[in-house]
């Protein structure tokens, strides 16, 4: 494929505003995009896929995508698949907590301190996956 822009790994978090794990999904995405791997990742708004926005569709069709869902409804993964894109890695935010049970995320609009720490840890855990996907042709 003729590529005019560097390959980015798209991070697509749940956009829920009703559960702490939705907030954790979003905070993990921000950690990856702003701190851990800013040069290799891109964020897009999940609702843009819901309205079939052409720029957002192009981004997810031309780059690998990591979805991070906040509940079993899997909105991020399903919305991605609905526009014909393939999920490179599907994550459930609750599994971040299952792996680090000392950090209990709480809060809806904004996470508590433990939740923010968990997001940092989860982003570090996902970094090797970002590196691998960014390096693939």
């Amino acid at each position: 494929m003729d590529r005019t822009t560097p390959r980015k790994v798209v991070i697509l978090p749940c956009s829920g505003i009703g559960k702490a794990y939705g907030a954790l999904a979003r905070e993990t995405a921000y950690e990856l995009a702003e701190r851990v791997r800013p040069e290799k990742t891109a964020l897009t708004c999940l609702p843009l896929l819901v309205i079939n926005d052409p720029d957002a569709k192009k981004l997810v069709l031309e780059n690998p995508v990591i979805t991070i869902d906040g509940c079993p409804r899997d909105c991020a993964r399903k919305s991605l698949e609905a526009v014909g894109a393939t999920v490179a890695q599907a994550c459930q935010a609750i599994k971040f907590y299952m792996a680090h049970k000392d950090l209990k995320p709480e809060g809806l609009a904004q996470l508590n301190e433990a939740g923010r720490k968990l997001a940092k840890v989860a982003a570090e855990d996902l970094a090797p996956t970002v590196d691998r996907l960014a390096a693939e042709e």
């Binding site: 939705g22 995405a29 921000y30 708004c45 609702p47 819901v50 309205i51 926005d53 909105c75 609009a109």
Partner: protein, 137 residues
């Protein structure tokens, strides 16, 4: 015809992970849901219009809805109208901030006192729209 009193308004928020205005939407909507009009409002995650079932897609037929968008792509308004039903009111964060002479925050997370006037202005406008919608119902 039986006259059924409408007592709840559905709030559909842009989640705008990519933009600070999306965070303003989420923070302001949560404030209305949790503090300003907790007994008069309910919400739904916008992507559930795609990922959910018939019940989620019938959201706008069960409740009069107010959509709150962070940019002029108006994902929340378009998705609600296309997949659920016409919103009663559609609010746009940049218009509200312009009306109040406030600038859009630059950060996408970790909101505190600096962003408080922006969140308060948007939340107050949503609460006003809730009251107007219930009065008209």
């Amino acid at each position: 015809m039986m006259n059924i009193q409408v007592t709840k308004v559905g709030i559909v928020s842009c989640s705008g992970e990519e933009r600070p205005e999306g965070t303003v939407c989420r923070m302001a909507c949560r404030r209305v849901l949790d503090q300003l009009r907790p007994n008069e409002t309910v919400t739904i995650c916008l992507p559930l219009f795609i990922a959910g079932g018939e019940e989620e897609r019938a959201f706008a037929s069960k409740y009069p809805t107010i959509t709150v968008d962070g940019c002029d792509k108006r994902c929340a308004a378009k998705a609600t109208e296309t997949l659920s039903g016409k919103p009663s009111r559609s609010l746009l964060v940049p218009e509200i901030l312009e009306k109040h002479g406030l600038a859009v925050p630059t950060a996408r997370r970790d909101y505190g006192p600096d962003e408080e006037p922006v969140v308060r202005a948007v939340a107050d406008e949503i609460a006003k729209a809730v009251d107007q919608t219930l009065e008209e119902a």
